[in-house]
């Protein structure tokens, strides 16, 4: 690409306003991104980041305002226009074709063709070029594998790679690290520095503010569809960023808990699922919050799914309040008071086109039955009760959950298990993709659960969360529990060391790993 004048930003959005059905989502928002810089875009869920980026991608047209590329005003009527101007996106919701291979996805729409009248796709060249890109970026993927067979993290890497092929001026990354491991995040950051050096402007959206410390050059903060701050990253502290995002001081992210630890509610013995985890034994008592740490692929999600019965284990035993759970199955687990908050709320959690009230009662419809009949009044009353308890917004029992923000959707799911009178809560990444304010409300709800005598198991990749919220941390590595740590007397570095380093390395006293900068501060 040609050299750009440093005075003119590669991309500028001026006075963008957009409303849907009378609802103003963006109002007079501006944003500029310079070539060779990483520009952070932050804001709570529902602040308008995604809408702003969809306007940039040509998915939506703004009601007013303009987009300038290298100083020239340009209108994007459709996504192809934005791509044509060298603007590429990595969406939070993965947008890959699952039945095509890694290489086919990377070059989708720009396949290398053979010369000649037939323009046949040159598969060999495509695979070779894809492999070259992946190895240049340090991503370890087989180019011929179908995307459907890849893990979420690997799909994210494919998506990132594809965007780098498309982008000539601007690359937008929307929560690119949400499913990546520490090592992959390191690789991504290295790649981002590379892209900067090539003169691309990068717009980086993330909830993990600590990540931005490592890469951001400047920042724009949105709140309720308005721009509330714009400036250099170095001139603002993380606390100030949070204050701008939520519009108020967050006194305590991790509220204190005073729960009495009682009898054992969940006991797992020698639980094994071939290829995923083996010989897992642990217990969780009433009033206790147990954390499970580990890298992606360590078997944490599979473990809680096995306890819940969604993915039956091959061997081992599960005891609930002392009695053995035969042939685990979700309906039996629910009946016995186990609730699983899954890591993917859209796929396995919410009925998106149903109302909040209907989603709330789904795991315990019995409670709103009068003989055979559903009692709508009682259901609505229950919905209003949980709206108050968890500050669910908007406060409308009939609201379609698909139209709620991510943080509120997560609260709906937590409310579902509260309503089901669960005694054992298995929470898989309970705050992934959740904004700061909802996050602390979720933490408060978790504390209330423990105080009310529930046993809570939290699987999380967010180490401050584990250290701040749990009574014990079990660290999993390659399907086994390798350490049990006391959050009061451990550090993020120590948890990571157990999660990522082979025993032999530790014993040999090799250098402590250097790649663990992820989520180590808040």
């Amino acid at each position: 690409m040609e050299m750009t004048d440093q005075a003119t930003p590669a991309l500028e959005m001026r006075g963008i306003t957009k409303s849907f059905a009378g609802n103003t989502v963006l109002s007079d928002v501006s944003l500029s991104a310079e070539a060779g810089k990483v520009h952070a875009l932050v804001g709570e869920n529902g602040a308008g980041k995604s809408t702003l980026m969809k306007i940039l991608a040509g998915v939506y047209q703004p009601d007013s305002g303009e987009i300038l590329i290298e100083g020239q005003s340009i209108r994007f009527a459709r996504p192809a226009d934005a791509l044509g101007h060298g603007i590429a996106m990595i969406y939070q919701e993965l947008s890959l074709a699952p039945h095509l291979t890694v290489a086919e996805n990377i070059f989708l729409g720009r396949e290398p063709l053979r010369l000649g009248p037939l323009k046949v796709i040159n598969r060999r060249e495509m695979n070779e070029r894809a492999a070259a890109l992946l190895s240049e970026y340090g991503f370890n993927l087989d180019t011929r594998k179908r995307v459907a067979q890849l893990s979420t993290a690997d799909r994210q890497l494919v998506e990132i790679t594809r965007a780098t092929v498309e982008a000539r001026r601007v690359i937008v990354m929307d929560e690119p690290t949400s499913s990546l491991t520490t090592r992959e995040v390191e690789e991504l950051f290295r790649l981002i520095r590379d892209l900067k050096a090539r003169g691309l402007a990068i717009i980086y959206i993330s909830h993990r503010l600590e990540e931005l410390d490592a890469i951001a050059d400047s920042v724009t903060i949105l709140r309720d569809g308005r721009q509330v701050y714009a400036g250099a990253w170095g001139e603002i502290t993380i606390d100030e960023v949070i204050r701008h995002m939520v519009g108020r001081e967050l006194t305590e992210i991790f509220p204190r808990r005073c729960a009495e630890v009682g009898k054992t509610l969940l006991r797992v013995e020698q639980l094994t699922l071939a290829g995923k985890f083996s010989e897992i034994s642990f217990e969780a008592r009433a009033g206790e919050v147990v954390g499970i740490a580990g890298l992606a692929g360590a078997g944490r999600t599979e473990l809680v799914e096995a306890i819940f019965g969604a993915r039956p284990a091959d061997g081992g035993e599960i005891f609930l309040s002392g009695s053995k759970l035969d042939r685990a199955r979700p309906d039996r687990a629910v009946k016995q008071g186990v609730g699983l908050l899954t890591e993917d709320r859209k796929r396995t959690g919410l009925c998106l086109n149903l109302s909040f009230a209907k989603n709330l009662t789904l795991a315990n419809v019995r409670a709103v039955l009068k003989r055979w009949r559903l009692d709508r009044k009682q259901e609505n009353a229950a919905a209003i009760e949980y709206i108050d308890k968890l500050h669910i917004r908007p406060p409308n029992p009939g609201k379609t959950v698909g139209r709620m923000s991510g943080g509120n959707q997560q609260k709906v799911l937590l409310a579902r298990w509260l309503f089901a009178n669960s005694k054992v809560f298995l929470l898989d990444e309970p705050t992934r993709g959740v904004d700061v304010a909802s996050r602390s409300e979720i933490y408060r709800a978790i504390n209330k659960l423990a105080e009310a005598g529930a046993a809570v198991v939290i699987v999380s990749s967010d180490l401050p969360e584990l250290l701040g919220m749990t009574d014990r941390i079990l660290v999993m590595r390659r399907g086994r529990i390798v350490a049990e740590l006391d959050p009061q007397h451990t550090t993020q570095e120590e948890v990571l060391k157990h999660a990522a380093v082979e025993e032999t390395d530790v014993q040999a006293g090799s250098d402590s790993p250097t790649n663990f900068s992820l989520s180590t501060s808040r």
């Binding site: 849907f20 059905a21 609802n23 995604s50 809408t51 969809k54 939506y60 819940f308 969604a310 979700p330 309906d331 687990a333 629910v334 009946k335 699983l340 899954t342 796929r347 396995t348 959690g349 919410l350 009925c351 998106l352 086109n353 149903l354 209907k358 009662t361 789904l362 795991a363 419809v365 019995r366 039955l369 055979w372 009949r373 559903l374 379609t400 698909g402 139209r403 579902r416 089901a420």
Partner: protein, 314 residues
């Protein structure tokens, strides 16, 4: 606002259609003709009630026409061999329920797409009924049987209309006021979410298909009463009309949406279209073209609405 349009558009279309036909051909409004329309749409509507349940749960059943023929013939055979009329009707309903149960079991336990399973089942049940009857109509049903299709309660209310009413009220209650109904919408909206909430998805899917089968069996009885024979070729192409009734009435092929009132209006729209075309002397071949176009229109409208909703929710 758009929800409102979506709910009332089918009704408004039905009224507009009636007004148009009545203006062109006043005979349309005669009591005899309207009762005829009610009788003709009864069979489709009864099956469409069950189809609404199955489609709300995210499924589909292409075999209903064949199930209807098989059930009608089994019921007729029972009566011809001496069984009383009620037993004949029960036999038809049980046959239909059994067919639906098999469909549901294959779909839910083997996890094969319903479109494929029921496409196969459509051929299987049709083949069975042709084998059983050797392709010939079953004649000699008791004379009292005809009451089911041609009779009038208290001399005015056509019996099939009464049956439709009863089935519709029951289905509406099931979908809106009971736990299985709630699960039906939940499964159709997100089957994995339902499973992870402790809903016994497999069991309920089988129940829904069995219910549809039973209603197809009941419809089979009405149809054989109307024809006064058990016809092995009855109900050909009905699956399309039944699915169209659900879709026109606001049901979604993606599941999670649909309701009884909408489906009834959908069925009536098609019944009135066919009747009006007959009155106006439009050939039945042209009618097929019109009905096909209406289906495409209804789905297009539904799809556009959904996209608009998705855009506003972003």
């Amino acid at each position: 606002m758009s929800d409102w349009i979506k709910r009332f558009l089918p009704f408004v279309s039905l009224v507009a259609l009636c007004v148009l036909i009545a203006a062109l051909e006043p005979r349309f409004l005669s009591a005899g003709n309207l009762a005829g329309v009610a009788r003709q749409t009864a069979v489709i509507t009864v099956i469409a009630m069950g189809m609404t349940v199955v489609m709300v749960s995210g499924g589909i059943d292409l075999s209903v026409g064949s199930v209807m023929a098989l059930s009608g013939v089994i019921g007729a055979l029972a009566m011809v061999s001496g069984a009383p009329v009620t037993i004949g009707i029960v036999a038809a309903i049980v046959t239909g329920a059994a067919c639906g149960l098999l469909n549901g079991a294959a779909i839910a336990t083997l996890r094969i797409p319903p479109f494929i399973v029921t496409l196969g089942a459509m051929g299987i049940y049709r083949g069975l009924v042709l084998l059983v009857t050797d392709g010939k109509a079953v004649v000699g049903v008791p004379s009292g049987f005809g009451y089911l299709a041609e009779g009038n309660l208290l001399g005015v209310v056509p019996v099939p209309m009464l049956i439709v009413l009863l089935v519709a009220v029951a289905t509406h209650f099931l979908l809106t006021n009971t736990r299985p109904g709630r699960y039906c919408y939940a499964i159709g909206s997100n089957i994995e979410a339902a499973r992870y909430s402790g809903v016994r998805v497999t069991r309920y899917q089988i129940i829904f298909y069995a219910l549809l089968g039973a209603l197809a069996g009941l419809a089979g009885s009405i149809e054989s009463a109307r024809l006064v024979t058990g016809q092995p070729t009855a109900g050909e192409g009905y699956e399309l009309r039944v699915i169209a009734a659900v879709v026109i009435g606001g049901g979604s092929l993606a599941g999670g949406q649909g309701n009884v009132t909408g489906t009834i209006i959908g069925a009536l729209i098609m019944g009135v279209l066919a009747n009006g075309a007959n009155l106006l002397g439009i050939s039945s071949f042209a009618q097929q073209v019109v009905i096909g176009a209406v289906i495409v229109l209804a789905v297009t409208f539904d799809e556009f609405q959904r996209r608009r909703l998705e855009a506003t929710s972003a």
